[in-house]
């Protein structure tokens, strides 16, 4: 089914809102399952998403461990003498953090993989969002994969200079990654400068009014899905909302 990019945006905002508000692993797991169903519904290659997102696993596991180790309230599950090592609350908080980040990453991919960035700008502009802001958002979405590719190029180039990244001690590795971060950001800023020059050379914002060759039309299904998503989100946030 082909949905309007605005409908997808509303669904994604609803899911992200719930992911930020929910703080129990059970609810977050249900939300994660819903996200996976949506990804399958939009026929996005789940294996492809997994292969690109699995690089985040070390970060997710680190966050999980930090929560498990430092949150000491609740029933002790594992103790050393009288000191609790792992508590029920720590385990729940760690799982929640992992699921929450997982949901946000997966829904972000849902937006970037299934929507043409031009359609996205068009949709936002039709919602009276200033074209400049809509364009900025679309450029961000457009350049996320480029940034990822650039990082992967850097990692390849570092290894091709003979550095065995897997064997570098953690302390050195962190130092190395920090030193790689600056050129990456600087390179991105240079790219942004060139992009803005190219846009101005092609008369970006030369007239105050823009016209569009194409117009997006919201169908009945779009309206129904948007209304259902918003109402469902409000009910999930506060079940007493109708009373």
């Amino acid at each position: 089914m082909k949905l309007d990019p605005r409908t997808k945006l509303v669904i994604i905002i609803c899911i992200t809102t719930l992911a930020l508000i929910y703080n129990t692993p059970g609810r977050l797991l249900l939300l994660f399952a819903l996200t996976i169903i949506l990804i399958l519904f939009f026929r996005i290659n789940l294996a492809g998403i997994w292969s690109s997102l699995k690089k985040l696993l070390p970060l997710l596991l680190t966050l999980f461990l930090v929560q498990v180790i430092f949150l000491r309230s609740g029933t002790a599950l594992v103790s050393v003498g009288s000191a609790p090592l792992i508590t029920a609350n720590g385990l729940a908080a760690g799982t929640s953090v992992m699921l929450r980040l997982g949901i946000v990453c997966f829904v972000a991919v849902l937006l970037t993989s299934s929507t043409n960035s031009r359609d996205f700008v068009l949709g936002l502009a039709q919602w009276k969002i200033p074209y400049e802001i809509a364009f900025m958002v679309s450029v961000t979405i457009r350049f996320l994969p480029v940034l990822r590719e650039e990082m992967s190029n850097i990692i390849t180039a570092v290894q091709l200079r003979g550095v065995e990244l897997k064997k570098v001690p953690w302390r050195e590795k962190i130092k190395l990654y920090c030193s790689l971060f600056f050129p990456l950001v600087y390179g991105t800023i240079l790219k942004a400068q060139r992009l803005s020059l190219a846009m101005e050379a092609r008369c970006f914002r030369i007239y105050p009014q823009r016209t569009y060759l194409r117009r997006l039309r919201l169908t009945c299904i779009d309206y129904v899905l948007m209304v259902v998503s918003v109402i469902a989100t409000l009910i999930f946030i506060n079940p007493d909302i109708w009373r």
């Binding site: 650039e150 190029n153 850097i154 390849t156 180039a157 570092v158 290894q159 091709l160 200079r161 003979g162 550095v163 065995e164 990244l165 897997k166 030193s179 790689l180 600056f182 050129p183 990456l184 600087y186 390179g187 240079l190």
Partner: protein, 221 residues
């Protein structure tokens, strides 16, 4: 003896019907300079990327010094084969030109004085001294090309693969590069150059491999 050997190597880019490389078998020795020539899209760059393990072939196998390339990590390959990308911007990751040239040596555990000495030599040789503290991506195309080549050569690899090394270089700097490449070959390194610069290839190459439609059409020299 073959230093890099390709056996029945085929490669398809996802979504493309025609293979970029179609059952390529060829050996590259460590002696002298080999040039790979051919029209755009004939698979020259893909071939070199497969030779250094950046891209994995769909079928067939690549051998480095008689051992399957799969047995080596990318860093182990990098220590033996220096690779200059076609788009040199892809290989810069340091904050200054001097750091870029010295990066490999520093991380291979060389003494800082030896690193400094080699960096100075390459900065001077490729006339980059004025740019030693400049961010590499700020340089012009030709300057980036020189930094990329210097950074790879500074590691003194056994074999070098340079993808379009003369793009953006003026006649004088092409001559400088030519002299230096001939020198490192005399010192025992092997060299493979992918180039469209016919005059450069004619002057420098001991062998020419022509690629067309994803296959090695002929080898000469």
């Amino acid at each position: 003896m073959a230093f890099i050997e390709l056996k029945q190597v085929s490669f398809f880019y996802p979504g493309k019907k025609e293979p970029v490389l179609n059952s390529v078998s060829h050996s590259f020795g460590k002696d002298g300079i080999t040039a790979v020539v051919g029209p755009n899209g004939s698979g020259k760059t893909t071939l070199t990327k497969i030779m250094v393990g950046i891209v994995q072939p769909n079928s067939g196998e690549v051998f480095l010094d008689s051992l399957p390339l799969k047995k080596y990590s990318l860093a182990e390959i990098g220590r033996r084969i220096g690779y200059v990308f076609q788009n040199t911007s892809h290989q810069f990751f340091c904050a200054t030109v001097a750091e870029e040239i010295g990066f490999g040596l520093k991380h291979l555990g060389k003494e800082s004085e030896a690193v400094e000495e080699k960096v100075e030599f390459y900065l001077e040789y490729f006339e980059l001294t004025a740019y030693r503290n400049v961010f590499p991506l700020r340089l012009s195309y030709g300057e980036k090309q020189r930094v990329a080549i210097a950074a790879v050569l500074a590691n003194s690899p056994d074999y070098c693969i340079l993808d379009e090394p003369t793009v953006g270089l003026d006649v004088y700097r092409k001559r400088l590069l030519e002299n230096h490449l001939k020198k490192i070959v005399r010192l025992g390194s092997g060299l493979l150059i992918v180039s469209h610069d016919y005059n450069f290839v004619k002057r420098i190459a001991d062998r020419v491999v022509r690629m067309e439609n994803g296959q090695v059409q002929e080898g000469s020299g």
